[in-house]
Symmetry: C2
Subunit: 131 residues, 2 copies
DNA sequence: ATCTCAGTTTAGAATTATTCTAAAGTATTG
DNA sequence: CAATACTTTAGAATAATTCTAAACTGAGAT
Protein backbone atom coordinates (compact mmCIF):
# COMPACT_ATOMS: atom_id res chain seq x y z
CA UNK A 1 0.00 0.00 0.00
CA UNK A 2 1.03 3.54 -0.71
CA UNK A 3 3.26 4.89 2.05
CA UNK A 4 1.29 8.09 2.44
CA UNK A 5 -1.90 6.11 2.95
CA UNK A 6 -0.24 4.20 5.76
CA UNK A 7 0.84 7.43 7.42
CA UNK A 8 -2.64 8.86 7.07
CA UNK A 9 -4.36 5.80 8.49
CA UNK A 10 -1.89 5.61 11.34
CA UNK A 11 -2.97 9.12 12.22
CA UNK A 12 -6.72 8.66 11.90
CA UNK A 13 -6.93 10.68 8.73
CA UNK A 14 -8.96 9.33 5.83
CA UNK A 15 -6.71 8.86 2.81
CA UNK A 16 -8.58 11.09 0.42
CA UNK A 17 -7.23 11.84 -3.04
CA UNK A 18 -6.22 15.29 -1.90
CA UNK A 19 -4.40 14.20 1.25
CA UNK A 20 -2.56 11.46 -0.58
CA UNK A 21 -1.45 13.87 -3.29
CA UNK A 22 -0.21 16.34 -0.70
CA UNK A 23 1.34 13.64 1.47
CA UNK A 24 3.14 12.03 -1.48
CA UNK A 25 4.82 15.33 -2.12
CA UNK A 26 5.56 16.30 1.48
CA UNK A 27 6.64 12.89 2.77
CA UNK A 28 8.93 11.83 -0.07
CA UNK A 29 11.92 11.91 2.24
CA UNK A 30 13.30 15.21 1.01
CA UNK A 31 13.26 17.96 3.63
CA UNK A 32 11.10 20.86 2.51
CA UNK A 33 9.86 24.17 3.76
CA UNK A 34 6.55 25.02 2.15
CA UNK A 35 3.93 27.69 2.47
CA UNK A 36 0.26 27.17 1.71
CA UNK A 37 0.71 29.19 -1.43
CA UNK A 38 3.86 27.41 -2.62
CA UNK A 39 2.26 24.03 -2.05
CA UNK A 40 -0.93 25.09 -3.79
CA UNK A 41 1.02 26.26 -6.83
CA UNK A 42 3.11 23.09 -6.91
CA UNK A 43 -0.07 20.99 -6.94
CA UNK A 44 -1.66 22.97 -9.75
CA UNK A 45 0.82 21.30 -12.08
CA UNK A 46 -0.40 17.86 -11.02
CA UNK A 47 -3.12 16.02 -12.86
CA UNK A 48 -5.68 16.67 -10.18
CA UNK A 49 -6.11 19.99 -8.46
CA UNK A 50 -6.55 20.65 -4.79
CA UNK A 51 -8.35 23.71 -3.56
CA UNK A 52 -6.51 26.28 -1.53
CA UNK A 53 -8.87 25.68 1.40
CA UNK A 54 -7.90 22.03 1.40
CA UNK A 55 -4.23 22.91 1.31
CA UNK A 56 -4.72 24.98 4.44
CA UNK A 57 -6.87 22.32 6.10
CA UNK A 58 -4.38 19.59 5.34
CA UNK A 59 -1.32 21.51 6.46
CA UNK A 60 -2.99 22.24 9.76
CA UNK A 61 -4.13 18.66 10.25
CA UNK A 62 -0.64 17.37 9.48
CA UNK A 63 0.74 19.82 12.03
CA UNK A 64 -1.72 18.70 14.65
CA UNK A 65 -0.61 15.11 14.07
CA UNK A 66 2.99 16.27 14.26
CA UNK A 67 3.75 15.19 10.74
CA UNK A 68 4.88 18.76 10.06
CA UNK A 69 6.31 21.63 12.06
CA UNK A 70 4.87 25.08 11.79
CA UNK A 71 7.44 27.87 11.67
CA UNK A 72 6.29 31.38 12.48
CA UNK A 73 9.15 33.54 11.44
CA UNK A 74 7.66 36.03 9.05
CA UNK A 75 4.58 38.06 9.73
CA UNK A 76 2.90 37.45 6.46
CA UNK A 77 3.47 33.84 5.61
CA UNK A 78 3.50 30.69 7.67
CA UNK A 79 6.10 28.06 6.79
CA UNK A 80 5.65 24.35 7.28
CA UNK A 81 8.67 22.15 7.72
CA UNK A 82 8.72 18.48 6.70
CA UNK A 83 11.84 18.01 8.79
CA UNK A 84 10.30 17.33 12.17
CA UNK A 85 13.53 16.56 13.98
CA UNK A 86 14.79 19.30 16.26
CA UNK A 87 16.77 21.86 14.32
CA UNK A 88 17.12 25.59 13.81
CA UNK A 89 16.96 27.99 10.88
CA UNK A 90 18.59 30.75 8.98
CA UNK A 91 16.14 33.22 7.53
CA UNK A 92 16.89 35.77 4.88
CA UNK A 93 14.33 38.50 5.46
CA UNK A 94 14.94 40.04 2.07
CA UNK A 95 14.40 36.92 -0.04
CA UNK A 96 12.17 35.29 2.59
CA UNK A 97 14.31 32.20 2.31
CA UNK A 98 14.35 29.63 5.07
CA UNK A 99 17.38 27.37 5.46
CA UNK A 100 18.04 24.51 7.82
CA UNK A 101 20.90 24.68 10.26
CA UNK A 102 22.35 21.25 11.01
CA UNK A 103 21.49 20.48 14.60
CA UNK A 104 25.12 19.86 15.55
CA UNK A 105 25.98 23.41 14.49
CA UNK A 106 24.09 25.05 17.34
CA UNK A 107 24.76 24.40 20.99
CA UNK A 108 22.59 26.12 23.54
CA UNK A 109 24.45 25.40 26.76
CA UNK A 110 22.25 27.30 29.16
CA UNK A 111 18.49 27.68 29.11
CA UNK A 112 16.22 29.69 31.38
CA UNK A 113 13.54 28.01 33.48
CA UNK A 114 9.99 28.50 32.29
CA UNK A 115 7.82 31.02 34.14
CA UNK A 116 5.71 29.54 36.95
CA UNK A 117 2.83 27.45 35.67
CA UNK A 118 4.27 27.15 32.16
CA UNK A 119 6.26 24.52 30.36
CA UNK A 120 8.66 24.84 27.47
CA UNK A 121 6.92 23.63 24.34
CA UNK A 122 9.48 24.43 21.68
CA UNK A 123 12.79 26.23 21.36
CA UNK A 124 13.17 28.11 18.12
CA UNK A 125 16.45 29.73 17.15
CA UNK A 126 16.27 31.95 14.12
CA UNK A 127 19.35 33.51 12.64
CA UNK A 128 18.35 36.41 10.45
CA UNK A 129 20.62 37.01 7.51
CA UNK A 130 21.52 40.04 5.43
CA UNK A 131 23.83 40.48 2.46
CA UNK B 1 14.40 70.24 26.49
CA UNK B 2 12.14 67.21 26.47
CA UNK B 3 14.16 64.02 26.35
CA UNK B 4 12.13 62.53 23.52
CA UNK B 5 12.74 65.64 21.42
CA UNK B 6 16.48 65.20 21.89
CA UNK B 7 16.26 61.60 20.78
CA UNK B 8 14.21 62.54 17.76
CA UNK B 9 16.55 65.35 16.68
CA UNK B 10 19.58 63.13 17.19
CA UNK B 11 17.98 60.76 14.70
CA UNK B 12 16.92 63.32 12.09
CA UNK B 13 13.25 62.96 12.88
CA UNK B 14 11.18 66.11 13.29
CA UNK B 15 9.76 66.25 16.78
CA UNK B 16 6.13 66.43 15.85
CA UNK B 17 3.39 66.30 18.46
CA UNK B 18 2.62 62.72 17.51
CA UNK B 19 6.18 61.46 17.63
CA UNK B 20 6.82 63.15 20.95
CA UNK B 21 3.68 61.64 22.42
CA UNK B 22 4.66 58.18 21.21
CA UNK B 23 8.30 58.62 22.20
CA UNK B 24 7.41 59.87 25.68
CA UNK B 25 5.55 56.64 26.23
CA UNK B 26 8.01 54.27 24.59
CA UNK B 27 11.23 55.82 25.90
CA UNK B 28 10.25 56.31 29.53
CA UNK B 29 12.87 53.81 30.64
CA UNK B 30 10.46 50.96 31.26
CA UNK B 31 10.95 48.01 28.93
CA UNK B 32 7.84 47.37 26.87
CA UNK B 33 6.60 45.13 24.13
CA UNK B 34 3.94 46.88 22.09
CA UNK B 35 1.96 46.20 18.97
CA UNK B 36 0.60 48.87 16.67
CA UNK B 37 -2.84 48.15 18.01
CA UNK B 38 -1.87 48.18 21.70
CA UNK B 39 0.01 51.43 21.26
CA UNK B 40 -2.85 52.99 19.33
CA UNK B 41 -5.31 52.08 22.06
CA UNK B 42 -3.02 53.35 24.80
CA UNK B 43 -2.77 56.70 23.03
CA UNK B 44 -6.51 57.06 22.60
CA UNK B 45 -6.68 57.70 26.34
CA UNK B 46 -4.29 60.62 26.00
CA UNK B 47 -5.47 64.17 25.47
CA UNK B 48 -4.40 64.20 21.87
CA UNK B 49 -5.10 61.38 19.45
CA UNK B 50 -2.74 59.84 16.96
CA UNK B 51 -4.01 58.07 13.87
CA UNK B 52 -3.36 54.40 13.36
CA UNK B 53 -1.40 55.16 10.20
CA UNK B 54 0.91 57.42 12.18
CA UNK B 55 1.39 54.74 14.81
CA UNK B 56 2.55 52.37 12.07
CA UNK B 57 4.71 55.02 10.41
CA UNK B 58 6.35 55.97 13.67
CA UNK B 59 7.02 52.44 14.84
CA UNK B 60 8.71 51.68 11.55
CA UNK B 61 10.76 54.85 11.62
CA UNK B 62 11.88 54.16 15.18
CA UNK B 63 12.90 50.67 14.10
CA UNK B 64 14.87 51.99 11.16
CA UNK B 65 16.72 54.30 13.54
CA UNK B 66 17.26 51.36 15.87
CA UNK B 67 15.32 52.95 18.70
CA UNK B 68 13.12 49.85 18.73
CA UNK B 69 13.49 46.20 17.83
CA UNK B 70 10.94 44.49 15.70
CA UNK B 71 10.02 40.98 16.83
CA UNK B 72 8.37 38.67 14.33
CA UNK B 73 7.16 35.78 16.37
CA UNK B 74 3.48 35.55 15.61
CA UNK B 75 1.99 35.55 12.15
CA UNK B 76 -0.72 38.01 12.79
CA UNK B 77 0.82 40.72 14.90
CA UNK B 78 4.21 42.39 14.90
CA UNK B 79 5.73 43.23 18.27
CA UNK B 80 8.05 46.15 18.92
CA UNK B 81 10.48 45.98 21.79
CA UNK B 82 11.75 49.07 23.58
CA UNK B 83 14.54 46.99 25.10
CA UNK B 84 17.12 47.23 22.34
CA UNK B 85 19.88 45.40 24.18
CA UNK B 86 20.48 41.83 23.04
CA UNK B 87 18.10 39.46 24.75
CA UNK B 88 15.70 36.61 24.01
CA UNK B 89 12.05 35.86 24.63
CA UNK B 90 9.50 33.51 26.00
CA UNK B 91 6.28 33.48 24.00
CA UNK B 92 3.02 32.04 25.13
CA UNK B 93 1.21 31.18 21.91
CA UNK B 94 -2.12 30.85 23.67
CA UNK B 95 -2.17 34.22 25.41
CA UNK B 96 0.14 35.80 22.84
CA UNK B 97 2.26 37.05 25.69
CA UNK B 98 5.86 38.04 25.11
CA UNK B 99 8.30 37.94 28.02
CA UNK B 100 11.92 38.95 28.26
CA UNK B 101 14.55 36.40 29.14
CA UNK B 102 17.46 37.93 31.03
CA UNK B 103 20.45 37.78 28.73
CA UNK B 104 22.57 35.90 31.26
CA UNK B 105 20.00 33.10 31.30
CA UNK B 106 20.77 31.92 27.77
CA UNK B 107 24.16 30.82 26.58
CA UNK B 108 24.58 29.85 22.97
CA UNK B 109 28.01 28.28 22.95
CA UNK B 110 28.17 27.26 19.33
CA UNK B 111 26.86 29.09 16.31
CA UNK B 112 26.85 28.08 12.64
CA UNK B 113 28.65 30.14 10.04
CA UNK B 114 26.43 32.16 7.73
CA UNK B 115 25.85 30.84 4.20
CA UNK B 116 28.23 32.20 1.58
CA UNK B 117 27.56 35.81 0.72
CA UNK B 118 25.43 36.43 3.78
CA UNK B 119 26.06 37.92 7.20
CA UNK B 120 24.32 37.29 10.48
CA UNK B 121 22.06 40.24 11.20
CA UNK B 122 20.29 39.09 14.32
CA UNK B 123 19.99 35.98 16.45
CA UNK B 124 16.54 35.44 17.82
CA UNK B 125 15.81 32.70 20.34
CA UNK B 126 12.17 32.15 21.05
CA UNK B 127 11.02 29.75 23.72
CA UNK B 128 7.41 28.85 23.11
CA UNK B 129 5.43 28.12 26.25
CA UNK B 130 2.40 26.04 27.03
CA UNK B 131 0.51 25.44 30.27
C1' DA C 1 6.94 87.49 11.56
C1' DT C 2 5.87 85.56 7.12
C1' DC C 3 7.01 82.57 3.29
C1' DT C 4 8.20 78.24 1.40
C1' DC C 5 8.68 73.56 1.07
C1' DA C 6 10.06 69.16 2.39
C1' DG C 7 8.52 66.30 5.77
C1' DT C 8 4.47 64.50 8.22
C1' DT C 9 -0.16 63.13 9.30
C1' DT C 10 -4.41 61.23 8.13
C1' DA C 11 -8.86 58.96 6.53
C1' DG C 12 -10.12 55.75 3.98
C1' DA C 13 -9.23 52.43 0.35
C1' DA C 14 -6.47 48.54 -1.03
C1' DT C 15 -3.90 44.45 -0.17
C1' DT C 16 -3.26 39.87 1.26
C1' DA C 17 -2.67 35.74 4.04
C1' DT C 18 -5.72 33.19 6.36
C1' DT C 19 -10.17 31.57 8.25
C1' DC C 20 -14.96 30.76 7.93
C1' DT C 21 -19.39 29.06 5.98
C1' DA C 22 -22.39 26.03 4.32
C1' DA C 23 -23.44 23.16 0.55
C1' DA C 24 -21.91 19.24 -2.23
C1' DG C 25 -19.00 15.16 -2.41
C1' DT C 26 -16.78 10.90 -0.58
C1' DA C 27 -14.69 7.24 2.38
C1' DT C 28 -15.94 3.85 5.68
C1' DT C 29 -18.74 0.69 8.09
C1' DG C 30 -22.59 -2.38 8.77
C1' DC D 1 -26.18 -0.76 -1.04
C1' DA D 2 -27.41 2.64 2.75
C1' DA D 3 -26.33 5.52 6.36
C1' DT D 4 -23.37 8.74 8.19
C1' DA D 5 -19.51 11.09 9.64
C1' DC D 6 -15.81 13.17 7.56
C1' DT D 7 -13.94 15.99 3.81
C1' DT D 8 -13.62 19.25 0.09
C1' DT D 9 -14.62 23.47 -1.94
C1' DA D 10 -15.95 28.18 -3.79
C1' DG D 11 -16.57 32.17 -2.30
C1' DA D 12 -17.31 35.39 1.46
C1' DA D 13 -15.42 37.26 5.58
C1' DT D 14 -11.68 38.77 8.52
C1' DA D 15 -7.94 41.43 10.08
C1' DA D 16 -3.23 43.26 10.24
C1' DT D 17 -0.81 46.11 7.49
C1' DT D 18 0.27 49.10 3.60
C1' DC D 19 -0.89 52.49 0.31
C1' DT D 20 -2.71 56.87 -1.60
C1' DA D 21 -3.27 61.39 -2.06
C1' DA D 22 -4.79 65.42 0.06
C1' DA D 23 -4.28 68.45 4.10
C1' DC D 24 -1.16 70.03 7.53
C1' DT D 25 3.03 71.60 9.95
C1' DG D 26 7.84 72.37 11.51
C1' DA D 27 11.95 74.77 10.47
C1' DG D 28 14.99 77.33 7.80
C1' DA D 29 15.30 81.47 4.65
C1' DT D 30 14.09 86.04 3.86
MN1 LIG E 1 -0.45 40.55 6.09
MN1 LIG F 1 -3.81 37.79 9.28
ZN1 LIG G 1 13.75 23.16 8.68
ZN1 LIG H 1 12.13 42.06 24.91
Amino acid sequence: MNMTKKILRANDLRPTKQRVLIGDYLFDGIDKHVTAESLFKKLLNEKRGVSLATVYNTLHEFCKKELLNKITIDTDKVYFDTNISSHHHFFSDKEKLLLDIRSQDVIISSMPVAPKGKKIKKVELIIHLED
